[in-house]
C-alpha cells in the first residue's frame, strides 16, 4: 500500500496528493505517469506525475474528480492509502535546449505540463506559459508555474482572472506579434490540444501534446490505449504519452475515450448515491508514526502492512 501523506484541494474539483512511493520518486522524469488502483474492487487509471521529492520519497499527483474513481480519490485524505501504484511509466518528455518554449496548460492539464515546464527551464529554454480555465477558481498552480516561467499569461473563459478568452487566442496573438517560438507543449482537454495544433500547424512549429487514453496495464500489454499518430497505431503507455500534435488523430482519441461512457455514468451514479462501500474498501495507515504532522485519525479501519 502507498500512504497518502498530504492532500489538499487546488480548486473545487481538483486535489493534489503527496503519496509515499520512494522507488518511483527516485526514478520519475517529467512527462511520466503512474497507474493507480484505489482498492481491491477498483479500476486501474493512469495519472501523470506532477512532481516528486526524492528526499522524503513522495510523488505528487493532481486529480480532477470527473468519474467515480477520481471522485472517490478526491475524498481521500492524509492517512488513507492507495492500494496499488505502479510506475514511472511511459517515455519521459524530450527535454532539450530548444530556445523559446511555450507551455500551455488547460485546467488540470497545468499539473501535467508543470514538471515539463520546470525541466525545460532548467535546460536553458526561455519558457512562456499560458494557463487557461473556465473561471478563476479553476486556475491551478499559478505560483508554481510563474516561478518557472519567463512570461506568464492567464486566461479565463469568463474573464474572472487574467484576460478573457482561450489559450489558443493568446498563442495566436504571440505568434502574430512576432514572438519566435521553437516548441509548443500543450496539455489539457482534447479539444484544446486539437485547437493548439491547428494554430501551430500553418507555421510548422513543433508541438507536443500529452495524451490521456483509457489504459489498463500501462506497460504495453493490452493495447487499449492505442492512438493513431501519423496514420500508424501507437500505444500511448509505452510509445507516449507525448506525441507530435500535428500527427495525432484527435477525433479517434475522443471516440475511444468515450467507449465506456454508459458504464462510467452508471458507476458514478451508484457512487454518488452511496459512497460508503467504496470508502470502506479504502485502507488506512498508521501514518502518525512516520509523519507526526499527519496526526492520528479517529474511527478509521486499519489496513494491512504499509510500504512505499
Amino acid at each position: 500500500m502507498f500512504p497518502i501523506v498530504q492532500a489538499r484541494f487546488l480548486s473545487p474539483d481538483v486535489k493534489q496528493f503527496r503519496i509515499e512511493a520512494p522507488r518511483i520518486a527516485r526514478k520519475r522524469k517529467a512527462g511520466q505517469f503512474v497507474i493507480v488502483r484505489l482498492h481491491e474492487y477498483g479500476e486501474r487509471i493512469p495519472l501523470t506525475i506532477s512532481d516528486s521529492d526524492e528526499s522524503d520519497g513522495t510523488i505528487t499527483l493532481v486529480v480532477q474528480g470527473i468519474g467515480k474513481t477520481t471522485r472517490l480519490m478526491n475524498q481521500l485524505e492524509a492517512g488513507d492509502a492507495v492500494l496499488d501504484l505502479v510506475g514511472p511509466l511511459g517515455e519521459p518528455s524530450h527535454v532539450d535546449r530548444f530556445g523559446t518554449v511555450v507551455v500551455i496548460g488547460g485546467g488540470v492539464g497545468t499539473a501535467i505540463a508543470y514538471p515539463t515546464a520546470v525541466a525545460m527551464k532548467q535546460a536553458g529554454n526561455r519558457v512562456i506559459s499560458i494557463l487557461g480555465a473556465r473561471t478563476a477558481e479553476l486556475l491551478i498552480l499559478e505560483q508554481e508555474v510563474r516561478a518557472t516561467s519567463d512570461e506568464l499569461h492567464l486566461l479565463t473563459d469568463d474573464g474572472s482572472r487574467g484576460e478573457r478568452g482561450f489559450v489558443t487566442q493568446k498563442l495566436q496573438e504571440l505568434l502574430d506579434g512576432g514572438t519566435e517560438v521553437n516548441l509548443v507543449l500543450a496539455i489539457g482537454p482534447v479539444p484544446m490540444m486539437k485547437a493548439v495544433a491547428d494554430v501551430t500547424r500553418p507555421r510548422a512549429i513543433k508541438t507536443i501534446v500529452s495524451l490521456n487514453p483509457i489504459m489498463v496495464d500501462g506497460t504495453g500489454m493490452c493495447g487499449g490505449c492505442r492512438v493513431q499518430v501519423g496514420g500508424a497505431s501507437k500505444f500511448a503507455c509505452v510509445d507516449g504519452p507525448e506525441f507530435d500534435a500535428h500527427a495525432v488523430d484527435f477525433q479517434i482519441l475522443m471516440q475511444r475515450n468515450s467507449l465506456y461512457k454508459e458504464q462510467e455514468r452508471a458507476a458514478l451514479a451508484r457512487f454518488e448515491a452511496d459512497p460508503t462501500p467504496d470508502r470502506e474498501h479504502v485502507a488506512h495507515c498508521h501514518l502518525e508514526q512516520q509523519h507526526p504532522a499527519a496526526g492520528p485519525r479517529a474511527g478509521v479501519r486499519e489496513g494491512g502492512e504499509c510500504r512505499g
Binding site: 486501474r44 467515480k68 500489454m221 479517434i252
Partner: protein, 476 residues
C-alpha cells in the same frame, strides 16, 4: 486404499471420465467447466497405471514430474505425499493439472495409450492438488539450508514461479517482481476463471510464500528498477527474466481503432484480472456483450478463452473467425470441443479484411473473405488464400483479435547489453538459459515466443538448475 491389481485386470478398467458442468448451463456462468474426479474415480484411475519400470510418461513431461511415483502414492491413499512428490518437480500442480496439454505430453507418451486410453495423469494431478486445497493442508518439499544468495525473478507467470520454487527449495533467497497488482502473470490475466479459478492460483502462490519466497507487485523492471540496479543497488547475485510475450499483435486492418475492437490481452485482462464479468462489485468496465454479436479472430487457446468468455458475458452470437480449417487450428481439441458444445459458431476458412464502424466510432460489422487451403507452409500447416469475389459483411458489435503476441521491450530497452533476436526476443543459450549479460538468465515466452504454461515452467526449471550452478561456482 485401493488394492493393486494384475496388469490384465488394470487394462480392463475404463479411463475415468472427467465430470463437467452441462454445456448449456456453463455457457452462462464463469464457474469451472471441469469439476474434478471424485475419490472413487481417482482410485480407479490410479489402478490403471501399469507402473512401468521405464516410465515413458515422465520423459513426456516437460518438467519431468515423477508420475509413476505420485500415482502409486494416490493408490496407497497418501494424497498429501503425492502432492509433495509432484511439487519436487512442478510447483503448480493445481494449475498444470488443469491447463497442460497432457495429450501431447505425459498422456501422449503413456504405454496404455497404445492399445487402450492413456492414464488420465492430468486429472490425477488435479485430484491431489484439489484434495490439499479442500483439506487445507499442503504437501511441501523440504528446503535446503540457506545459501545466502539472492535471486531476482522478473515476472510472476509460470516460468518465473517454477524457477522461484526450485531455487527456494535449494536454499536461495528469491524475490519475484510483478508489474501488475497481483501475482500469477498469464495464469491470472490470461486464462479465464472457468478454466483455472483464480483462487487456485492464489492458493498456489500462498503455498510458495511458505517456501520463503518474497513477492513484490507493482514493480516494472526496466521502469521502476532496472536490471543493473538489481545487481548494483539491491544486491542480487542473479536475475531471471521471464516477462512473457506480452505485446499484442493487431491485424493492421482499416477500422481497428473502432470501439468494440479488442486485443485478446485487453479483453481477457479486463475479464479475468479486473473481473469485469462481475460489474456489481468491480469497477473496471468492458463493452456490454449482452445480446450482441461477438467474434474472435484466431484459432489458438487464447482465441477459445476469449470467445467462451464473451459467451458467458451474454453474447447472442459468438463466432470464431479462422483463416484455415478446423484441422489446422492450434487450440487444444478439448478447448475446441468445449467451445462447440457451448454454442460457439466456427467460421473456419474466413479472414477479416476490414472493420466497419458507425458514426459514433463503434464497430458495426466486419468484412470477411472466404479462404481456400493450399499447400503446407514452412510451419507444416497448410497455408490459405482468399477466394476471389467471396467477400461479405457480418454484423458485429465486438471483435477480439487473438492472432498472437510479440516481445514486450521494457526490460530489454533498459538493459543495453542484453542481446536480442530480430523480433526483439532475448537470446539465451538453449541449455543454460544464460543471456549475453553476466548473471542474467532468460526463459519462457520472452525467449521462445508464445508457447504453453508447462513449456514456460520447463524453462523456469532449467533456469533454476543453471542459476544454482552459477551461484555455487561463479563461473560464466
Amino acid at each position: 486404499m485401493a488394492e493393486p491389481l494384475k496388469p490384465k485386470e488394470r487394462v480392463k478398467i475404463p479411463r475415468q471420465a472427467m465430470p463437467e458442468q452441462p454445456a448449456l448451463a456453463r455457457a452462462h456462468n464463469f464457474q469451472e467447466v471441469n469439476l474434478g474426479l471424485q475419490v472413487v474415480a481417482a482410485e480407479h484411475e490410479a489402478q490403471r497405471c501399469l507402473t512401468c519400470s521405464d516410465p515413458k510418461c515422465v520423459q513426456g513431461c516437460p518438467v519431468g514430474v515423477k508420475i509413476r511415483d505420485f500415482v502409486e502414492l494416490v493408490l496407497s491413499g497418501d494424497y498429501l505425499q503425492a502432492a509433495a512428490k509432484i511439487r519436487e518437480d512442478n510447483i503448480l500442480p493445481a494449475v498444470t493439472g488443469r491447463v497442460c496439454p497432457q495429450e501431447n505430453q505425459c498422456e501422449g507418451a503413456c504405454v496404455l495409450g497404445n492399445r487402450f486410453s492413456p492414464l488420465a495423469i492430468g486429472n490425477l494431478e488435479r485430484f491431489v492438488a484439489d484434495y490439499e486445497r479442500a483439506t487445507g493442508q499442503v504437501g511441501l518439499p523440504t528446503l535446503a539450508p540457506p545459501t545466502g544468495k539472492k535471486v531476482a525473478i522478473v515476472g510472476s507467470g509460470p516460468a518465473g514461479l517454477s524457477c522461484a520454487g526450485d531455487l527456494a527449495i535449494q536454499g536461495h533467497k528469491v524475490t519475484v517482481f510483478e508489474a501488475l497488482h497481483e501475482i500469477g502473470g498469464v495464469l491470472l490475466y490470461g486464462i479465464p476463471e472457468f478454466r483455472l479459478p483464480k483462487d487456485i492460483v492464489r492458493q498456489e502462490v500462498d503455498n510458495m510464500r511458505k517456501l520463503g519466497i518474497d513477492f513484490q507487485t507493482n514493480v516494472v523492471i526496466g521502469k521502476t528498477v532496472t536490471v543493473d540496479e538489481l545487481f548494483d543497488e539491491e544486491g542480487f547475485h542473479a536475475v531471471f527474466v521471464a516477462t512473457g510475450a506480452g505485446l499484442p499483435r493487431f491485424l493492421n486492418l482499416p477500422g481497428e481503432h473502432l470501439g468494440g475492437v479488442y486485443s485478446a490481452n485487453e479483453f481477457l485482462t479486463r475479464v479475468n484480472l479486473m473481473k469485469a464479468y462481475d460489474p456489481s462489485h468491480y469497477d473496471e468496465p468492458i463493452y456490454d456483450c449482452r445480446g450482441r454479436n461477438v467474434a474472435v479472430v484466431g484459432g489458438g487457446n487464447t482465441a477459445m478463452d476469449a470467445i467462451r468468455s464473451a459467451l458467458r458475458l451474454g453474447a447472442k452470437n459468438a463466432y470464431v473467425i479462422y483463416r484455415r480449417g478446423e484441422e489446422e487450428m492450434p487450440a487444444r481439441r478439448e478447448e475446441l470441443h468445449h467451445a462447440q458444445d457451448e454454442g460457439v459458431q466456427f467460421l473456419t476458412l474466413h479472414n477479416p479484411i476490414e472493420f466497419l464502424g458507425d458514426a459514433r466510432g463503434y464497430l458495426r460489422a466486419v468484412r470477411l473473405t472466404r479462404m481456400a487451403l493450399g499447400e503446407p507452409d514452412a510451419s507444416g500447416r497448410r497455408s490459405s488464400a482468399p477466394v476471389p469475389d467471396s467477400e461479405f459483411e457480418l454484423p458485429l458489435d465486438v471483435v477480439i483479435i487473438a492472432v498472437g503476441t510479440g516481445a514486450n521491450p521494457l526490460v530489454q530497452s533498459t538493459t543495453p547489453d542484453l542481446r536480442l533476436n530480430k523480433w526483439g526476443y532475448i537470446i539465451a543459450d538453449e541449455e543454460s538459459l544464460r543471456t549475453s549479460k553476466r548473471g542474467v538468465f532468460a526463459g519462457g515466452d520472452i525467449v521462445s515466443g508464445s508457447a504453453t504454461v508447462i513449456l514456460a515452467m520447463g524453462a523456469g526449471r532449467k533456469a533454476a538448475r543453471s542459476i544454482h550452478q552459477f551461484l555455487c561456482d561463479g563461473a560464466w
